[in-house]
Amino acid sequence: MPAVGRAIDTGQTQNDYWKPMFDGFDFSKKWEESEKPDVVFLVYNDHATAFSLDFIPTFAIGVAEDYAVADEGFGPRPVPPVEGHADLAWHIAGSVIQQDFDLTVVNKMDLDHGLTVPLSLMFGQPERWPCKVIPFAVNVVQYPVPSGRRCYNLGKAIRKAIDSFDQDLNVQIWGTGGMSHQLQGPRAGLINQPWDQAFLNDIGDNVDRLVGIPPEEYIREAGSEGIELVMWLIMRGALDDQVTEVHRHYHVPASNTAIGHIILKNGK
C-alpha cells in the first residue's frame, strides 16, 4: 500500500508506528538472500494505474524486458525499474492460454505500489532488484472480479507452464494484496483479525475452504478491499498440494490495512 511505500522511501521504518510491522519481514528478507530467486512471478493488482476504465483485463501478464515505475499522482517511487523475464513470461502466457485461461498479453505497462511495495518489503532498498520479475495483474477493481476458484485453478495452470519451461530457474510465486481492509465509505477502517487468522491457518493445508469463499464474504467480512486476497489463491494453486510453512507474520495496522504474509514451500 502507498503508506508502506512512503514509510520505506522516507526512512521511517524504525519509528514506533512502523517498526513492529517491518520487523516481521526481517526473517523473510534473510530467507530471500539465501534462496536467491532468479525470477519472481508476482501476482498483484493494478490500482487504476496501467489500466483505466477504457481497458479492464481480468488477467494480464507482462512479457516485456523492462518496466518503468509509475507516477501514481505524487511522482514515481524512488525505486529501481523492474526487469522482466520475457522468455519465461511468453512461455507461461502461451501455455496458460492453451490451458483455456484467456489472458491479456502486455508489452508495456508502468508498475504501481501494488507491485513495488512487496518488492521493497522482501528485498529492501537495493540499487537494482536482485532478480527478474514477471508482473501478473488481476482485476480486483471492477466487479465482477474473478472467483477464488478461478484464481486457484489459474495458479495450477501457471505451475504446469513453469514446470515445462526448458531452462533451470529458481522461480518464486508471490501472491500479494492486503488482508482485511476497507479504504472507502463510512465503514472504512474495517479489520477482521479472526477472519484473517483463519485465512492464514487454512492457506497451507485447508485451501479448499478458501477457494469456495464468494466475493460478498470477502466484502462483508474482510472489507471491500479484502477481495485482494483472491490473488493469494493464484500463488497457492501454483504450489504443491502439500506444502510446509516456513514463516508467518501478521500485524495491524499498516495505515488502513491488516498486513500479513506467509512463506510456503513445496512438499511436507
Partner: protein, 133 residues
Amino acid sequence: MTKSRPYDDVPGTTVFDERMSRKGYHLNQFCMSLMKPENRDRFKSDNRGYLDDWKMTEDQKQAVIDRDYNRMLSLGGNIYFLAKIFSCDGLSFQYAASTMTGVSEDEYLKMMLAGGRSPDGNRYKHEWDKSNG
C-alpha cells in the same frame, strides 16, 4: 441492470460494479489524468477550469471541488481512482479514509491503532439502521 446483488446489504460500502462504473466513467477518467505532472499543475491552479474539460456532471465536479469523497463514491467514483485526487493534494489514504468516516484523522488513527473497526455490528445494513433508530 438494477438487479440486487448479494453485497448490496453491506453497510457503508460502495461496491464498484457496472452500475457504479457506468455512472462514474468520466469522473474516474478525470482522476487518471492526474497521473501526469502537467495535469496536476493545471488542476491545482484551477480546479473548476480543469474539471470543465471533462464530460462530468455538475454534481461530480462540485463533489471533487469539495473533496467530498463519500459523495464522489455515490456518483460512481472508485477509491483507487479517487486516490489520484488526494495524492495530488499531498494527502494520505488514512486522511482520506478518516474524512469518509466522519471522524477526525486523529480519532481514526486511534481506532486503527486499537485494531481497526470491528466487523461486529458492521456486517449488515439492518445492524446500522437499528443502531441509528
